[in-house]
């Protein structure tokens, strides 16, 4: 079946190979973030900022600033690898799998925004900032979990047939 916008099947494996180490690095970063920021001077780079600034200082546009690039590195690779995993074709891609994919995407979007609505109502200040940080990634994560679960269920159904 011809499918639009999906990546070739081999991207799924590449995705997992990047996703697993980057997730582990991400978890380490979350735990040891203050330590990383101080010790990892070698990751301090001058970067071009379209917009920058803090709560206490002014907002700058089109400035070169000094920044530890570890979190940017983790974030970008996490998103790219998740997209590889989520949107690569199956070995035999067909209309039934396309339906499972669509259903899972709808489901993941509902769950993601459901969680975000709850967080909007019940979480405030700095913890809410962290909710937003995680929310950048959760749609893809919820989709990957739900899609693979549904695909596995359909495979199990075959085994029961025998």
């Amino acid at each position: 079946m011809k499918t639009q916008y999906l990546l070739p099947n081999k991207f799924k494996k590449i995705g997992w190979l990047i996703f697993i180490p980057v997730s582990l690095l991400g978890i380490l970063w979350l735990i040891f973030e203050p330590l990383f920021e101080q010790k990892l001077d070698l990751l301090e780079f001058n970067v071009f900022a379209l917009v920058s600034g803090g709560i206490l200082n002014d907002t700058y546009v089109f400035q070169v600033i000094e920044n530890n690039i570890l979190d940017e590195f983790i974030g970008v690779l996490f998103i790219i690898s998740s997209i590889f995993i989520a949107f690569s074709k199956e070995k035999t891609e067909d209309e039934f799998i396309a339906m499972i994919r669509l259903e899972s995407l709808v489901w993941a979007t509902y769950i993601n925004y459901g969680v975000l609505i709850l967080a909007l109502i019940f979480v405030y200040d700095i913890p809410f900032f962290w909710v937003l940080v995680f929310n950048m990634f959760t749609t893809l994560i919820f989709f990957i979990i739900r899609y693979n679960w549904a695909l596995n269920n359909s495979k199990k159904s075959i085994e029961n047939e025998k």
Binding site: D94, E95, S154, I158, E161
Partner: protein
Amino acid sequence: MKNSIKVERAKKNITQAQLADLVNVSRQTINAVELGKYNLSTILALKISSIFGQSVDEIFELETSDW
């Protein structure tokens, strides 16, 4: 929608996996269609019918609940 794929497969003595290969879909898809869990596309219905050498409405049949 009812279908007689299972019966036709038995007549031709082919498995779900073999039928899946013949019409170029995954095994899950044939399984889900056979169990009535998934309403297949017109193209796939035509392909399956042609494998069994029959017309679509000999293999697939509307049920009242489809209306």
